[in-house]
Each structure stands twice: as structure tokens, then as C-alpha cells.
Amino acid sequence: MSGFLAIVRRELKLALRQGSDASTVLMFYVVVVALFPLGVGPEPDVLERISGGVVWIGALLAALLSLDRLFQPDLEDGSLDLLVLAPWPLEFLVLAKCLAHWLVTGLPIMVISPLLGLLLHMQPEAYFSLLAAMALGTPVLSLIGAVGATLVLGARRSGVLVSLLVLPLTIPVLIFGVAAVEAAAIGQSPQPHLMLLGALLLAALPLCPWAAAAALRQAVA
């Protein structure tokens, strides 16, 4: 447990010290979402129609973009070798990394998403549902992302490759996340969608660290 906390603390320290990562990811998110009114035009009804999807797609891209650097720097500077030589199960290492990643990306993304919904004329009724869906969905993005990030370690052009591997796998999160928002926007209950998101999270919590740990072991071999 103390090893787990040591990792989380280190990751947060690195993230905060390295030019406020959390804010960079956040600003990327804002910029991407802000591109849409520019790209598709300012009509409120069109924007409202696509707002749920755009907010989620933006979150997906922002979370994934930062994945590239989740394990890669450790591989490059040699600390990955030492991390793999941990005196406790590697799955916890992955979990700690995911938790830190979520704290600096998923959490801020979640907090700011209603504001972006506002920019896109989203129905105010959907805000709460958006927050809840993000709270359940963004950790899944971090977990699935960790699998992608470890799989491409040592691969060439890992940056783009990781997005390519992870994007298709995260489609269910996108679909249920958007569905929860849209259900709330038209006055239906978002609960079934949120339950499904929760189920995804419960499934990812043991599975993803296991797969990522296997990938890690083999990345240093």
C-alpha cells in the first residue's frame, strides 16, 4: 500500500511540476470542443443536437492524447526497468498510474464538461447526467488507455498507434456516455445507461491492470 501511494504521489508531483499537465490537457479539451462551432457553424439547434457527442469525443481525445506519456518517459529514462522490479504485484503499479492519470486528466475534464455543454447549448437538464456519466466513464478511459499505452511500449510511432488501438475499444463508453446525456436532455431517465457505464468500470478494474501488467513485463524483456 505504501508503494502504491508512493507511485501516486510521484506521478502527481511530476504532473503538477511539469508545467501543470492537468491544465494543458484541460485546455486541449476546451480548444477541441471550441473548434466545433467554428467547423460546423454557429446554429444553436445543430450545436445542441451534437453537443453530447462532441463533449464526449473531446474528452476521449484529450484523455487519449495524454496516454502517450503515461509509461513512455519511464521506458526512455530507464525507470521502467526499476518499476517492473517492484517488490509487490505489478497490477498495483498499473492501478496507481491509472489513478494518477485520472486525477490529472479525467477529473478536470469531468468538472469542466458542463461548462462546455453550456457553450454548445446543451439542455441544462442534462448537466447532472453528464457529470455522472463522466465520473463513471473517464476512469474506464484511463484503464483501457493504460492497456494501450503499455502494449505499444517499445513500438515505433507509439503516439499515434496507442490512439488507434484504444479508440475502438472505448466506443462503448462513448455510446453509453452520450446516451445518458441525451436521455436526460429529452427528459428520460439516464439510469440504465449509467448502470451500464458502471458495469464497464467494474469489468475494467480487474481486467485492464492484469493485461497492462502482462504487457509491461514483456516491454522490458
Binding site: 492497456v147 502494449l151 513500438a155 498507434l161 475499444l169 466506443i171 462503448p172 453509453f176 502482462a214
Partner: protein, 236 residues
């Protein structure tokens, strides 16, 4: 099973059976095409375009079938560390991707006359498209490493994670589509299929499976030889 563990023995056996499978595949496909394109009747609604079905449907079946093979081989490789399993998975992926592409393209060609558009975001079509991406991702990953073994294990883990995800994706996509859009597309009723259509369909399906086997063996042999050459190349 372990009897095949020796790649050299595999090469020898493969060499002898491979021409037979290939010949059988050609026969089946030729018969299927003849039956489907010449003998079987045109559909009263769809006209001649219905004949696309004899390529489209078996290709779509193959896309799922090969992904299953890929995942199975990956599992065998991860659990029993069987070298040929990796080679098989690696060899199967591009064939699967090609069949998936074929299903997509023939579907699009069919969609133009039938639905008046090349593509709709129907649940079934969307899941095939995502399956195609999974294939491409797998292939990109497996080939992105210097050490073939590294690529093999990474690919195997991805294939297994993918196979858990395929039903989830399929389920979510189905559901997504029914949420957004009521099914308004006319489809052939699969149960009421005419034997005159069923025969070429089954012939083609068998032909495609045999073709897959034949190409798989060729590709496995090529991959084995390529590794050998690579090893020789490493000599100073």
C-alpha cells in the same frame, strides 16, 4: 497438438496438404460462382444485384470467423507459449482484414442500388467497420516491434482484450442504433431463403473457408521462412 510444435515438421506437412486445400478451394469457389451467377434466379425485388450476396455474405461470415481464430490462437500462444500459434495469428490477421474489407465493399456496392446510398450507420454495418479497425490495429501493433516475440505477445494481449470487447461493442452499437433510429431498412429475410440461393451461398462459404486455410498455410510458411532469413541476415 504438441506434435505440431516442431516448425520443421509443420513445414513438411503443410507443403504436402496445401496444394490439395488450394485445389479444393478453387473448385468450390468456381462451382459457387457458376451456380450463383448463372444458374440461380435473379431476385424478383432486387434483380440481378442480389448476386452480390454470394460474395458478400460469406465474406461477412469469414470476418467474424477469422477474428475468433485469431483470438483462439492468441490465447494458445499466451497460455502454452506455442510458437506456431503466434505465427498462425499473425498470418490470419491480414486475411481476416481482407475479408472484412470485402464485406464492407461488396456491402457498399449493394447498398447503392438497394438503399440509394453507399453507407448508412446501421448497427450491423457499424460493428463490421469497428471490427475492421480492430484488425488494422492488431496488424499495426504486431509489426511495430523489432523483436518478433515482443510483437507477438503484445498482439496476443490485444487480441484477447479485443475479443472481450467485441461482444460489448456489438451490444452497445446495436443498442445505440435502435435508440437513434428505428429500423427502416428492407432486408432479405434470412429464414425464407430459397434453396437455389442457399446452395451457391454454402458453396461459396465452404470455398472461402478452404481458401482461408490454403492462404493461411502459405502465409505461415512464408513467415517461418522470413524469420529464418532474418536470422541468417543477422550473421556478420
Amino acid at each position: 497438438m504438441h506434435w505440431f510444435a516442431n516448425p520443421a515438421r509443420f513445414m513438411r506437412i503443410a507443403e504436402t496438404v496445401q496444394p490439395w486445400i488450394a485445389g479444393l478451394a478453387v473448385l468450390c469457389i468456381a462451382a459457387g460462382l457458376y451456380y450463383g451467377l448463372v444458374i440461380s434466379p435473379a431476385d424478383y425485388q432486387q434483380g440481378e444485384t442480389v448476386r452480390i450476396m454470394y460474395v458478400h455474405v460469406p465474406a461477412a461470415w469469414m470476418s467474424l470467423f477469422i477474428y475468433t481464430i485469431l483470438a483462439l490462437a492468441s490465447g494458445v500462444f499466451l497460455i502454452w507459449k506455442h510458437p506456431l500459434a503466434d505465427i498462425a495469428a499473425r498470418a490470419a490477421a491480414p486475411i481476416g482484414a481482407a475479408f472484412t474489407a470485402m464485406a464492407l465493399i461488396t456491402g457498399a456496392l449493394w447498398g447503392q442500388p438497394m438503399w440509394g446510398t453507399w453507407w448508412v450507420w446501421d448497427a450491423r454495418l457499424t460493428s463490421v467497420l469497428i471490427l475492421f479497425f480492430l484488425y488494422l490495429g492488431y496488424m499495426a501493433l504486431v509489426n511495430a516491434f523489432d523483436e518478433p516475440e515482443h510483437g507477438a505477445r503484445a498482439g496476443a494481449i490485444l487480441a484477447l482484450v479485443g475479443v472481450i470487447n467485441v461482444p460489448i461493442i456489438k451490444f452497445s452499437v446495436d443498442w445505440w442504433n435502435t435508440l437513434h433510429q428505428p429500423a427502416s431498412l428492407t432486408r432479405l429475410d434470412a429464414s425464407a431463403i430459397d434453396p437455389a440461393m442457399l446452395v451457391p451461398l454454402l458453396l461459396m462459404a465452404a470455398g472461402f473457408k478452404l481458401y482461408f486455410l490454403a492462404v493461411l498455410v502459405i502465409r505461415m510458411r512464408t513467415l517461418l521462412t522470413a524469420r529464418r532469413i532474418r536470422a541468417l541476415h543477422m550473421v556478420e
